[in-house]
Protein backbone atom coordinates (compact mmCIF):
# COMPACT_ATOMS: atom_id res chain seq x y z
CA UNK A 1 0.00 0.00 0.00
CA UNK A 2 2.84 2.37 0.90
CA UNK A 3 4.45 1.74 -2.47
CA UNK A 4 1.23 2.62 -4.30
CA UNK A 5 0.88 5.72 -2.16
CA UNK A 6 4.43 6.83 -2.93
CA UNK A 7 3.88 6.27 -6.64
CA UNK A 8 0.67 8.26 -6.62
CA UNK A 9 2.41 11.06 -4.72
CA UNK A 10 5.22 11.03 -7.26
CA UNK A 11 2.74 11.32 -10.12
CA UNK A 12 0.82 14.16 -8.47
CA UNK A 13 4.03 16.02 -7.66
CA UNK A 14 5.18 15.81 -11.28
CA UNK A 15 1.92 17.13 -12.76
CA UNK A 16 1.79 20.82 -13.57
CA UNK A 17 -1.95 20.87 -12.71
CA UNK A 18 -1.01 20.24 -9.07
CA UNK A 19 0.67 23.62 -8.82
CA UNK A 20 -2.04 25.71 -10.46
CA UNK A 21 -4.01 25.91 -7.21
CA UNK A 22 -1.17 26.98 -4.91
CA UNK A 23 0.16 29.39 -7.54
CA UNK A 24 -3.22 31.02 -8.14
CA UNK A 25 -3.96 31.29 -4.42
CA UNK A 26 -0.53 32.75 -3.77
CA UNK A 27 -1.22 35.42 -6.40
CA UNK A 28 -4.56 36.07 -4.73
CA UNK A 29 -2.83 36.55 -1.39
CA UNK A 30 -0.42 39.03 -2.95
CA UNK A 31 -3.34 40.92 -4.51
CA UNK A 32 -5.16 40.95 -1.17
CA UNK A 33 -2.07 42.18 0.64
CA UNK A 34 -1.69 45.07 -1.77
CA UNK A 35 -5.41 45.79 -1.59
CA UNK A 36 -5.42 45.78 2.20
CA UNK A 37 -2.41 48.03 2.44
CA UNK A 38 -3.41 50.56 -0.17
CA UNK A 39 -7.05 49.91 -1.10
CA UNK A 40 -9.71 52.55 -0.46
CA UNK A 41 -12.20 50.02 0.92
CA UNK A 42 -9.99 49.09 3.85
CA UNK A 43 -9.08 52.67 4.59
CA UNK A 44 -12.80 53.48 4.62
CA UNK A 45 -13.47 50.56 6.99
CA UNK A 46 -10.71 51.74 9.25
CA UNK A 47 -12.15 55.28 9.36
CA UNK A 48 -15.61 53.88 10.14
CA UNK A 49 -14.19 51.75 12.94
CA UNK A 50 -12.26 54.67 14.40
CA UNK A 51 -15.51 56.62 14.74
CA UNK A 52 -16.71 54.19 17.43
CA UNK A 53 -13.50 52.69 18.81
CA UNK A 54 -10.02 53.67 19.74
CA UNK A 55 -7.93 51.47 17.47
CA UNK A 56 -4.39 50.84 18.63
CA UNK A 57 -2.20 49.73 15.73
CA UNK A 58 -3.85 48.32 12.60
CA UNK A 59 -6.75 45.89 12.55
CA UNK A 60 -5.70 45.03 9.00
CA UNK A 61 -3.07 42.48 9.97
CA UNK A 62 -2.05 38.86 9.39
CA UNK A 63 -5.02 37.38 11.29
CA UNK A 64 -7.44 39.67 9.46
CA UNK A 65 -5.98 38.62 6.12
CA UNK A 66 -6.24 34.91 6.93
CA UNK A 67 -9.89 35.23 7.94
CA UNK A 68 -10.68 37.48 5.02
CA UNK A 69 -9.04 34.98 2.67
CA UNK A 70 -11.36 32.26 3.91
CA UNK A 71 -14.32 34.48 3.10
CA UNK A 72 -13.13 34.81 -0.46
CA UNK A 73 -12.03 31.29 -1.32
CA UNK A 74 -14.36 28.87 0.50
CA UNK A 75 -16.84 28.71 -2.38
CA UNK A 76 -14.61 29.63 -5.26
CA UNK A 77 -10.92 28.88 -5.62
CA UNK A 78 -10.50 26.32 -2.88
CA UNK A 79 -13.24 23.94 -4.07
CA UNK A 80 -12.22 24.49 -7.67
CA UNK A 81 -8.59 23.55 -7.05
CA UNK A 82 -9.57 20.67 -4.76
CA UNK A 83 -11.86 19.29 -7.47
CA UNK A 84 -9.22 19.87 -10.14
CA UNK A 85 -6.89 17.41 -8.45
CA UNK A 86 -9.41 14.98 -6.90
CA UNK A 87 -11.54 14.77 -10.03
CA UNK A 88 -8.49 14.31 -12.18
CA UNK A 89 -6.84 11.39 -10.43
CA UNK A 90 -8.82 8.56 -12.03
CA UNK A 91 -10.67 10.26 -14.89
CA UNK A 92 -7.52 11.63 -16.53
CA UNK A 93 -5.79 8.26 -16.26
CA UNK A 94 -8.83 6.67 -17.90
CA UNK A 95 -8.79 9.28 -20.66
CA UNK A 96 -5.04 8.97 -21.26
CA UNK A 97 -5.17 5.18 -21.22
CA UNK A 98 -2.64 4.90 -18.40
CA UNK A 99 -5.33 3.37 -16.18
CA UNK A 100 -5.37 0.45 -18.62
CA UNK A 101 -1.61 0.03 -18.36
CA UNK A 102 -1.77 0.42 -14.58
CA UNK A 103 -4.52 -2.15 -14.08
CA UNK A 104 -2.74 -4.73 -16.22
CA UNK A 105 -0.24 -4.99 -13.36
CA UNK A 106 -0.73 -7.44 -10.49
CA UNK A 107 -2.35 -4.90 -8.21
CA UNK A 108 -5.87 -4.82 -6.82
CA UNK A 109 -8.18 -2.08 -7.99
CA UNK A 110 -8.95 -1.32 -4.36
CA UNK A 111 -5.27 -0.60 -3.68
CA UNK A 112 -5.02 1.70 -6.69
CA UNK A 113 -8.21 3.58 -5.77
CA UNK A 114 -7.41 3.96 -2.08
CA UNK A 115 -3.89 5.21 -2.71
CA UNK A 116 -5.25 7.74 -5.20
CA UNK A 117 -7.90 8.83 -2.72
CA UNK A 118 -5.34 9.18 0.07
CA UNK A 119 -3.19 11.39 -2.14
CA UNK A 120 -6.23 13.47 -3.07
CA UNK A 121 -7.05 14.04 0.59
CA UNK A 122 -3.42 14.90 1.39
CA UNK A 123 -3.50 17.46 -1.40
CA UNK A 124 -6.77 19.02 -0.19
CA UNK A 125 -5.53 19.27 3.39
CA UNK A 126 -2.14 20.56 2.27
CA UNK A 127 -3.76 23.17 0.05
CA UNK A 128 -6.21 24.41 2.68
CA UNK A 129 -3.79 24.63 5.60
CA UNK A 130 -0.81 25.54 3.41
CA UNK A 131 -2.58 28.53 1.92
CA UNK A 132 -3.74 29.64 5.38
CA UNK A 133 -0.21 29.41 6.70
CA UNK A 134 1.20 31.21 3.68
CA UNK A 135 -1.34 34.00 4.11
CA UNK A 136 -0.46 34.34 7.77
CA UNK A 137 3.29 34.50 7.08
CA UNK A 138 2.85 36.96 4.22
CA UNK A 139 0.42 39.05 6.30
CA UNK A 140 2.83 39.05 9.21
CA UNK A 141 5.66 40.23 6.98
CA UNK A 142 3.67 42.87 5.10
CA UNK A 143 0.90 43.98 7.48
CA UNK A 144 2.14 42.92 10.88
CA UNK A 145 0.54 40.86 13.65
CA UNK A 146 -2.15 41.76 16.13
CA UNK A 147 -5.65 41.12 17.39
CA UNK A 148 -8.35 39.93 15.08
CA UNK A 149 -11.25 42.30 14.52
CA UNK A 150 -14.37 40.77 12.98
CA UNK A 151 -17.26 42.87 11.79
CA UNK A 152 -20.01 40.31 11.59
CA UNK A 153 -23.17 40.22 13.72
CA UNK A 154 -21.51 43.00 15.74
CA UNK A 155 -17.88 43.75 16.38
CA UNK A 156 -15.69 40.98 17.76
CA UNK A 157 -12.16 41.44 18.90
CA UNK A 158 -9.95 38.47 19.69
CA UNK A 159 -6.43 38.68 21.12
CA UNK A 160 -3.78 37.29 18.78
CA UNK A 161 -3.29 33.88 20.45
CA UNK A 162 -7.05 33.26 20.56
CA UNK A 163 -7.42 34.50 16.99
CA UNK A 164 -4.85 31.96 15.78
CA UNK A 165 -6.70 29.16 17.56
CA UNK A 166 -10.02 30.21 16.08
CA UNK A 167 -8.51 30.55 12.62
CA UNK A 168 -7.05 27.05 12.95
CA UNK A 169 -10.46 25.65 13.91
CA UNK A 170 -12.18 27.53 11.07
CA UNK A 171 -9.64 26.27 8.53
CA UNK A 172 -10.06 22.73 9.90
CA UNK A 173 -13.82 22.92 9.36
CA UNK A 174 -13.36 24.27 5.84
CA UNK A 175 -10.81 21.50 5.24
CA UNK A 176 -13.49 18.97 6.26
CA UNK A 177 -15.81 20.50 3.69
CA UNK A 178 -13.11 20.37 1.03
CA UNK A 179 -12.40 16.72 1.87
CA UNK A 180 -16.12 15.99 1.38
CA UNK A 181 -16.17 17.85 -1.92
CA UNK A 182 -12.90 16.22 -3.01
CA UNK A 183 -14.40 12.81 -2.17
CA UNK A 184 -17.44 13.61 -4.32
CA UNK A 185 -15.16 14.69 -7.20
CA UNK A 186 -13.17 11.48 -6.72
CA UNK A 187 -16.35 9.36 -6.79
CA UNK A 188 -17.54 11.06 -9.97
CA UNK A 189 -14.14 10.57 -11.59
CA UNK A 190 -14.38 6.80 -11.07
CA UNK A 191 -17.07 6.46 -13.70
CA UNK A 192 -16.09 9.24 -16.07
CA UNK A 193 -13.26 9.24 -18.56
CA UNK A 194 -13.06 13.01 -18.59
CA UNK A 195 -11.54 14.91 -15.69
CA UNK A 196 -13.21 18.19 -16.73
CA UNK A 197 -16.57 16.47 -16.47
CA UNK A 198 -15.77 15.28 -12.95
CA UNK A 199 -14.63 18.75 -11.89
CA UNK A 200 -17.67 20.46 -13.42
CA UNK A 201 -20.07 17.91 -11.90
CA UNK A 202 -18.58 18.28 -8.40
CA UNK A 203 -18.61 22.08 -8.61
CA UNK A 204 -22.16 21.92 -9.97
CA UNK A 205 -23.20 19.86 -6.96
CA UNK A 206 -21.61 22.40 -4.63
CA UNK A 207 -23.37 25.37 -6.20
CA UNK A 208 -26.56 23.38 -6.65
CA UNK A 209 -26.49 22.59 -2.96
CA UNK A 210 -25.98 26.29 -2.15
CA UNK A 211 -28.95 27.27 -4.33
CA UNK A 212 -31.20 24.54 -2.90
CA UNK A 213 -30.31 25.75 0.58
CA UNK A 214 -31.80 29.14 -0.24
CA UNK A 215 -35.13 27.78 -1.47
CA UNK A 216 -37.85 27.61 1.15
CA UNK A 217 -39.33 24.43 -0.34
CA UNK A 218 -36.16 22.52 0.59
CA UNK A 219 -35.98 23.86 4.16
CA UNK A 220 -36.20 20.34 5.58
CA UNK A 221 -33.09 19.12 3.81
CA UNK A 222 -31.11 22.32 4.29
CA UNK A 223 -29.43 21.13 7.53
CA UNK A 224 -28.03 18.13 5.65
CA UNK A 225 -26.56 20.05 2.74
CA UNK A 226 -22.79 20.27 2.49
CA UNK A 227 -22.86 24.01 1.92
CA UNK A 228 -24.92 24.58 5.07
CA UNK A 229 -22.36 22.76 7.15
CA UNK A 230 -19.39 24.41 5.45
CA UNK A 231 -20.84 27.78 6.49
CA UNK A 232 -20.29 26.84 10.15
CA UNK A 233 -16.73 28.17 10.01
CA UNK A 234 -18.14 31.67 10.51
CA UNK A 235 -19.37 30.70 13.98
CA UNK A 236 -15.78 30.57 15.21
CA UNK A 237 -15.59 34.34 14.85
CA UNK A 238 -18.90 35.30 16.43
CA UNK A 239 -18.58 34.34 20.06
CA UNK A 240 -18.64 30.80 21.40
CA UNK A 241 -19.65 28.31 18.71
CA UNK A 242 -22.36 25.76 19.48
CA UNK A 243 -20.47 22.51 20.18
CA UNK A 244 -23.46 20.35 19.28
CA UNK A 245 -23.94 22.12 15.94
CA UNK A 246 -20.22 21.79 15.19
CA UNK A 247 -20.19 18.08 16.00
CA UNK A 248 -23.21 17.64 13.75
CA UNK A 249 -21.50 19.59 10.96
CA UNK A 250 -18.37 17.44 11.16
CA UNK A 251 -20.46 14.25 11.29
CA UNK A 252 -22.48 15.26 8.21
CA UNK A 253 -19.34 16.18 6.28
CA UNK A 254 -17.70 12.90 7.33
CA UNK A 255 -20.80 11.04 6.12
CA UNK A 256 -20.49 12.80 2.74
CA UNK A 257 -16.81 11.83 2.53
CA UNK A 258 -17.29 8.20 3.55
CA UNK A 259 -20.38 7.82 1.37
CA UNK A 260 -18.62 9.26 -1.69
CA UNK A 261 -15.54 7.12 -1.04
CA UNK A 262 -17.57 3.91 -0.75
CA UNK A 263 -19.56 4.71 -3.90
CA UNK A 264 -16.33 5.55 -5.74
CA UNK A 265 -14.64 2.33 -4.64
CA UNK A 266 -17.60 0.15 -5.62
CA UNK A 267 -17.87 1.79 -9.05
CA UNK A 268 -14.13 1.59 -9.64
CA UNK A 269 -14.04 -2.05 -8.58
CA UNK A 270 -16.80 -3.03 -10.99
CA UNK A 271 -16.20 -0.74 -13.94
CA UNK A 272 -15.05 -2.04 -17.29
CA UNK A 273 -11.92 -0.25 -18.42
CA UNK A 274 -12.67 0.46 -22.06
CA UNK A 275 -10.62 3.60 -22.70
Amino acid sequence: MLISLRLELLKVMRKSRTYIGPAALSLLIIAMLVGMKHGHEFQYMRRRLEQDFIVAGSFVNAAFLVRFLLEGITYTFLPLFACMVCGDLIASEAADGTLRTLLCRPVTRMRVAISKYAVAIMYVLGLTFGIGLLAYMAGWAYLGRGSLVVLSKGVWIYPEHEAILRLLKAYSLVACGMVSLGSIAFAISTFLSNSNGAIAAAMGLLYGSAVIGEIEYFAKIKPYLLTTQMEMWRDFFTGVPDAHALTKAVAIMAAYSVGALVIGLVIFHRRDVLS
Binding site: I3, R14, K15, D96, T98, C104, R105, P106, D272
Partner: protein, 307 residues
Protein backbone atom coordinates in the same frame (compact mmCIF):
# COMPACT_ATOMS: atom_id res chain seq x y z
CA UNK B 1 1.92 -32.00 -23.36
CA UNK B 2 3.20 -28.55 -22.38
CA UNK B 3 1.67 -26.68 -19.49
CA UNK B 4 -1.47 -24.67 -20.17
CA UNK B 5 -0.62 -21.01 -19.54
CA UNK B 6 -3.74 -19.34 -20.88
CA UNK B 7 -7.20 -20.81 -20.98
CA UNK B 8 -10.64 -19.41 -21.51
CA UNK B 9 -13.78 -21.46 -21.05
CA UNK B 10 -17.04 -20.17 -22.48
CA UNK B 11 -15.94 -16.55 -22.13
CA UNK B 12 -18.81 -14.24 -23.01
CA UNK B 13 -19.20 -10.48 -22.92
CA UNK B 14 -22.12 -8.27 -23.90
CA UNK B 15 -22.03 -4.52 -24.37
CA UNK B 16 -25.64 -3.55 -23.91
CA UNK B 17 -27.46 -5.65 -26.49
CA UNK B 18 -24.43 -6.44 -28.62
CA UNK B 19 -22.56 -9.66 -27.95
CA UNK B 20 -18.87 -8.81 -28.29
CA UNK B 21 -17.46 -12.20 -27.30
CA UNK B 22 -19.51 -15.37 -27.51
CA UNK B 23 -18.61 -18.52 -25.54
CA UNK B 24 -14.94 -18.26 -26.40
CA UNK B 25 -12.75 -21.17 -25.40
CA UNK B 26 -9.03 -20.86 -26.09
CA UNK B 27 -5.99 -22.82 -25.02
CA UNK B 28 -2.43 -21.55 -25.14
CA UNK B 29 0.42 -23.81 -24.07
CA UNK B 30 3.84 -22.94 -22.71
CA UNK B 31 6.23 -21.99 -25.48
CA UNK B 32 3.49 -21.09 -27.95
CA UNK B 33 3.50 -17.96 -30.01
CA UNK B 34 -0.25 -17.85 -30.38
CA UNK B 35 -1.80 -15.64 -33.02
CA UNK B 36 -5.26 -14.41 -32.19
CA UNK B 37 -6.53 -13.50 -35.58
CA UNK B 38 -9.65 -11.65 -36.59
CA UNK B 39 -10.89 -8.64 -38.52
CA UNK B 40 -11.43 -5.30 -36.80
CA UNK B 41 -14.34 -5.51 -34.37
CA UNK B 42 -14.16 -9.30 -34.11
CA UNK B 43 -13.76 -9.23 -30.32
CA UNK B 44 -9.97 -9.57 -30.01
CA UNK B 45 -9.40 -6.55 -27.77
CA UNK B 46 -12.42 -7.33 -25.61
CA UNK B 47 -11.05 -10.84 -25.10
CA UNK B 48 -7.65 -9.43 -24.15
CA UNK B 49 -9.29 -6.97 -21.76
CA UNK B 50 -11.07 -9.87 -20.09
CA UNK B 51 -7.80 -11.80 -19.94
CA UNK B 52 -6.11 -8.89 -18.16
CA UNK B 53 -9.01 -8.18 -15.81
CA UNK B 54 -9.87 -4.82 -17.35
CA UNK B 55 -13.32 -5.99 -18.37
CA UNK B 56 -15.60 -8.33 -16.43
CA UNK B 57 -17.03 -11.19 -18.48
CA UNK B 58 -20.76 -11.81 -18.49
CA UNK B 59 -20.05 -15.49 -18.07
CA UNK B 60 -17.21 -17.95 -18.48
CA UNK B 61 -13.74 -18.20 -17.02
CA UNK B 62 -10.33 -16.87 -17.97
CA UNK B 63 -7.24 -18.44 -16.44
CA UNK B 64 -3.65 -17.27 -16.68
CA UNK B 65 -0.92 -19.59 -15.42
CA UNK B 66 -3.63 -21.59 -13.69
CA UNK B 67 -5.10 -18.63 -11.75
CA UNK B 68 -8.59 -17.31 -12.27
CA UNK B 69 -8.28 -13.75 -13.58
CA UNK B 70 -11.52 -12.53 -12.03
CA UNK B 71 -11.06 -13.95 -8.55
CA UNK B 72 -7.27 -14.28 -8.28
CA UNK B 73 -6.28 -11.18 -10.14
CA UNK B 74 -2.95 -10.46 -8.43
CA UNK B 75 -1.65 -14.02 -8.70
CA UNK B 76 -2.85 -14.43 -12.28
CA UNK B 77 -1.08 -11.27 -13.46
CA UNK B 78 2.09 -11.62 -11.41
CA UNK B 79 4.07 -13.27 -14.22
CA UNK B 80 2.17 -11.80 -17.12
CA UNK B 81 3.14 -8.78 -19.18
CA UNK B 82 0.52 -7.10 -21.32
CA UNK B 83 0.22 -4.41 -23.91
CA UNK B 84 -3.46 -3.68 -24.47
CA UNK B 85 -4.27 -1.61 -27.55
CA UNK B 86 -2.42 1.71 -27.81
CA UNK B 87 0.52 2.02 -25.43
CA UNK B 88 -0.22 4.72 -22.85
CA UNK B 89 2.25 6.31 -20.48
CA UNK B 90 2.53 9.28 -18.18
CA UNK B 91 3.55 11.96 -20.66
CA UNK B 92 5.12 14.16 -18.01
CA UNK B 93 7.53 11.39 -16.93
CA UNK B 94 10.55 9.91 -18.67
CA UNK B 95 10.50 6.39 -20.11
CA UNK B 96 12.69 5.21 -17.24
CA UNK B 97 10.40 6.74 -14.59
CA UNK B 98 7.36 5.26 -16.29
CA UNK B 99 8.94 1.82 -16.18
CA UNK B 100 9.97 2.36 -12.54
CA UNK B 101 6.36 3.13 -11.63
CA UNK B 102 4.96 0.11 -13.44
CA UNK B 103 7.70 -2.21 -12.17
CA UNK B 104 7.04 -1.26 -8.54
CA UNK B 105 3.46 -2.40 -8.98
CA UNK B 106 4.82 -5.81 -9.96
CA UNK B 107 7.09 -6.09 -6.94
CA UNK B 108 9.83 -3.86 -8.35
CA UNK B 109 12.89 -4.52 -10.41
CA UNK B 110 16.38 -3.03 -10.23
CA UNK B 111 17.36 -0.10 -12.45
CA UNK B 112 19.85 -2.38 -14.16
CA UNK B 113 17.04 -4.61 -15.38
CA UNK B 114 15.03 -1.58 -16.54
CA UNK B 115 18.04 -0.42 -18.56
CA UNK B 116 18.47 -3.92 -19.95
CA UNK B 117 14.83 -3.97 -21.11
CA UNK B 118 15.13 -0.49 -22.58
CA UNK B 119 18.19 -1.70 -24.42
CA UNK B 120 16.30 -4.76 -25.69
CA UNK B 121 13.65 -2.53 -27.28
CA UNK B 122 16.24 0.00 -28.48
CA UNK B 123 15.24 2.92 -26.27
CA UNK B 124 18.14 3.11 -23.84
CA UNK B 125 19.56 6.28 -25.37
CA UNK B 126 16.19 8.04 -24.97
CA UNK B 127 15.44 6.64 -21.51
CA UNK B 128 15.53 10.01 -19.76
CA UNK B 129 13.35 11.84 -22.29
CA UNK B 130 9.74 12.54 -21.36
CA UNK B 131 7.42 10.19 -23.21
CA UNK B 132 5.45 13.12 -24.65
CA UNK B 133 8.40 13.55 -27.03
CA UNK B 134 8.18 9.93 -28.24
CA UNK B 135 6.94 8.87 -31.66
CA UNK B 136 4.23 6.24 -32.00
CA UNK B 137 6.79 3.58 -32.84
CA UNK B 138 8.84 4.43 -29.77
CA UNK B 139 5.75 4.29 -27.56
CA UNK B 140 4.90 0.90 -29.03
CA UNK B 141 8.38 -0.35 -28.15
CA UNK B 142 8.11 1.15 -24.68
CA UNK B 143 4.76 -0.64 -24.36
CA UNK B 144 6.48 -3.93 -25.06
CA UNK B 145 9.22 -2.96 -22.60
CA UNK B 146 6.68 -2.45 -19.80
CA UNK B 147 5.16 -5.82 -20.66
CA UNK B 148 8.58 -7.40 -20.11
CA UNK B 149 9.10 -5.80 -16.69
CA UNK B 150 7.77 -8.55 -14.43
CA UNK B 151 10.10 -11.10 -16.04
CA UNK B 152 6.98 -12.68 -17.52
CA UNK B 153 6.20 -16.24 -18.47
CA UNK B 154 3.40 -15.00 -20.69
CA UNK B 155 3.24 -11.82 -22.73
CA UNK B 156 -0.08 -10.63 -24.14
CA UNK B 157 0.28 -8.21 -27.03
CA UNK B 158 -2.74 -6.55 -28.60
CA UNK B 159 -1.97 -5.52 -32.19
CA UNK B 160 1.67 -4.74 -31.35
CA UNK B 161 2.54 -3.56 -34.85
CA UNK B 162 -0.47 -1.30 -35.22
CA UNK B 163 0.47 2.08 -36.68
CA UNK B 164 4.12 1.19 -37.21
CA UNK B 165 6.08 1.71 -40.40
CA UNK B 166 7.37 -1.40 -42.22
CA UNK B 167 10.74 -1.29 -40.45
CA UNK B 168 9.02 -0.85 -37.08
CA UNK B 169 6.75 -3.81 -37.83
CA UNK B 170 9.72 -5.94 -38.75
CA UNK B 171 11.55 -4.94 -35.56
CA UNK B 172 8.56 -5.85 -33.39
CA UNK B 173 8.14 -9.22 -35.13
CA UNK B 174 11.81 -9.99 -34.64
CA UNK B 175 11.55 -8.97 -31.02
CA UNK B 176 8.58 -11.27 -30.47
CA UNK B 177 10.42 -14.17 -32.07
CA UNK B 178 13.51 -13.42 -29.99
CA UNK B 179 11.46 -13.37 -26.78
CA UNK B 180 9.93 -16.71 -27.64
CA UNK B 181 13.16 -18.40 -28.76
CA UNK B 182 15.73 -16.93 -26.41
CA UNK B 183 13.76 -15.98 -23.33
CA UNK B 184 11.27 -18.88 -23.64
CA UNK B 185 8.35 -16.54 -23.11
CA UNK B 186 4.91 -17.65 -24.26
CA UNK B 187 3.37 -15.00 -26.46
CA UNK B 188 -0.32 -14.36 -27.09
CA UNK B 189 -0.53 -11.91 -29.94
CA UNK B 190 -3.65 -10.46 -31.50
CA UNK B 191 -3.57 -9.18 -35.02
CA UNK B 192 -5.68 -8.63 -38.07
CA UNK B 193 -2.59 -8.99 -40.27
CA UNK B 194 -2.52 -12.51 -41.62
CA UNK B 195 1.02 -12.49 -42.93
CA UNK B 196 2.21 -11.25 -39.55
CA UNK B 197 0.61 -14.17 -37.74
CA UNK B 198 1.89 -16.57 -40.37
CA UNK B 199 5.44 -15.26 -39.97
CA UNK B 200 5.55 -15.15 -36.20
CA UNK B 201 3.10 -17.65 -34.72
CA UNK B 202 3.11 -21.41 -34.40
CA UNK B 203 -0.52 -21.67 -33.31
CA UNK B 204 -3.49 -19.60 -34.29
CA UNK B 205 -7.09 -19.00 -33.30
CA UNK B 206 -9.45 -17.25 -35.68
CA UNK B 207 -12.21 -15.13 -34.18
CA UNK B 208 -15.09 -13.52 -36.02
CA UNK B 209 -18.09 -11.73 -34.51
CA UNK B 210 -16.96 -12.85 -31.08
CA UNK B 211 -16.87 -16.54 -31.93
CA UNK B 212 -13.88 -18.77 -32.39
CA UNK B 213 -14.03 -20.17 -35.91
CA UNK B 214 -11.03 -22.43 -35.67
CA UNK B 215 -7.93 -23.07 -33.60
CA UNK B 216 -4.80 -25.07 -34.28
CA UNK B 217 -1.23 -24.95 -35.50
CA UNK B 218 -0.59 -22.72 -38.48
CA UNK B 219 0.70 -25.74 -40.44
CA UNK B 220 -2.39 -27.79 -39.63
CA UNK B 221 -4.73 -25.04 -40.64
CA UNK B 222 -3.13 -24.24 -43.96
CA UNK B 223 -2.82 -27.97 -44.77
CA UNK B 224 -6.57 -28.15 -45.17
CA UNK B 225 -8.46 -31.17 -46.43
CA UNK B 226 -9.45 -29.20 -49.49
CA UNK B 227 -6.96 -28.16 -52.10
CA UNK B 228 -6.77 -24.92 -53.96
CA UNK B 229 -6.45 -25.00 -57.71
CA UNK B 230 -5.90 -22.15 -60.08
CA UNK B 231 -7.62 -22.58 -63.45
CA UNK B 232 -6.58 -20.59 -66.52
CA UNK B 233 -9.76 -20.40 -68.58
CA UNK B 234 -11.04 -18.61 -71.67
CA UNK B 235 -13.95 -16.95 -69.83
CA UNK B 236 -13.74 -16.69 -66.06
CA UNK B 237 -17.29 -15.30 -65.60
CA UNK B 238 -18.86 -18.15 -67.53
CA UNK B 239 -16.60 -20.64 -65.74
CA UNK B 240 -17.75 -19.28 -62.37
CA UNK B 241 -21.38 -19.81 -63.42
CA UNK B 242 -20.67 -23.40 -64.43
CA UNK B 243 -18.81 -24.20 -61.22
CA UNK B 244 -21.53 -22.57 -59.13
CA UNK B 245 -23.65 -25.54 -60.09
CA UNK B 246 -21.24 -27.97 -58.39
CA UNK B 247 -21.96 -27.90 -54.67
CA UNK B 248 -18.57 -29.33 -53.69
CA UNK B 249 -16.66 -26.51 -55.39
CA UNK B 250 -16.07 -23.10 -53.87
CA UNK B 251 -14.81 -20.29 -56.04
CA UNK B 252 -12.27 -18.37 -53.97
CA UNK B 253 -11.39 -15.67 -56.47
CA UNK B 254 -11.98 -14.87 -60.10
CA UNK B 255 -10.08 -12.34 -62.11
CA UNK B 256 -9.65 -11.96 -65.90
CA UNK B 257 -8.90 -15.45 -67.15
CA UNK B 258 -7.79 -16.85 -63.81
CA UNK B 259 -9.92 -18.33 -61.13
CA UNK B 260 -9.01 -20.05 -57.89
CA UNK B 261 -11.26 -22.76 -56.56
CA UNK B 262 -11.35 -24.89 -53.47
CA UNK B 263 -12.37 -28.48 -54.07
CA UNK B 264 -11.54 -31.96 -52.77
CA UNK B 265 -8.31 -32.98 -54.47
CA UNK B 266 -9.81 -36.14 -55.98
CA UNK B 267 -12.54 -34.23 -57.81
CA UNK B 268 -10.56 -31.52 -59.61
CA UNK B 269 -10.76 -33.51 -62.86
CA UNK B 270 -14.57 -33.47 -62.56
CA UNK B 271 -14.51 -29.69 -62.35
CA UNK B 272 -12.26 -29.57 -65.40
CA UNK B 273 -14.63 -31.91 -67.31
CA UNK B 274 -17.63 -29.69 -66.46
CA UNK B 275 -15.85 -26.61 -67.77
CA UNK B 276 -14.78 -28.29 -71.03
CA UNK B 277 -18.29 -29.69 -71.57
CA UNK B 278 -19.65 -26.16 -71.19
CA UNK B 279 -17.34 -25.03 -74.00
CA UNK B 280 -14.81 -23.24 -71.82
CA UNK B 281 -11.18 -23.68 -72.77
CA UNK B 282 -8.98 -24.70 -69.85
CA UNK B 283 -5.34 -23.97 -70.66
CA UNK B 284 -3.80 -24.76 -67.25
CA UNK B 285 -4.62 -26.20 -63.83
CA UNK B 286 -2.09 -25.05 -61.21
CA UNK B 287 -2.15 -26.51 -57.68
CA UNK B 288 -1.88 -23.77 -55.04
CA UNK B 289 -0.99 -24.03 -51.39
CA UNK B 290 -3.61 -22.49 -49.21
CA UNK B 291 -2.09 -19.73 -47.13
CA UNK B 292 -3.53 -18.31 -43.94
CA UNK B 293 -5.16 -15.46 -45.81
CA UNK B 294 -7.12 -17.85 -48.04
CA UNK B 295 -8.11 -19.90 -45.03
CA UNK B 296 -9.09 -16.82 -43.09
CA UNK B 297 -11.33 -15.52 -45.86
CA UNK B 298 -12.85 -18.94 -46.32
CA UNK B 299 -13.60 -19.26 -42.60
CA UNK B 300 -15.11 -15.80 -42.43
CA UNK B 301 -17.27 -16.58 -45.46
CA UNK B 302 -18.38 -19.86 -43.89
CA UNK B 303 -19.04 -18.13 -40.59
CA UNK B 304 -21.20 -15.48 -42.26
CA UNK B 305 -23.17 -18.02 -44.29
CA UNK B 306 -23.76 -20.03 -41.09
CA UNK B 307 -25.30 -16.89 -39.49
Amino acid sequence: MSELVLETIGLTKDFRRRRAVDSLSLRVYEGDVYGFLGPNGAGKSTTIRMLTGLVRPKSGTARLLGWDVLHQRVQSLSKVGALVEMPSFYKYLSARDNLRIFSRLSGGCPDKRIDQILDTVGLLDRANDKTKTYSHGMLQRLGIAQALLPNPRLVILDEPTSGLDPQGMKDVRELVLRLAREEKITVFLSSHLLHEVEQVCNRVGVIHRGRLLTEGSVEELVRHEVDLMEFKVSDADQAEEVLAGLDWVQVMSSEDCRMTISAPSGRVCEANKALVQAGIDVSAIIPKTMNLEDLFLKLIEEGESAD
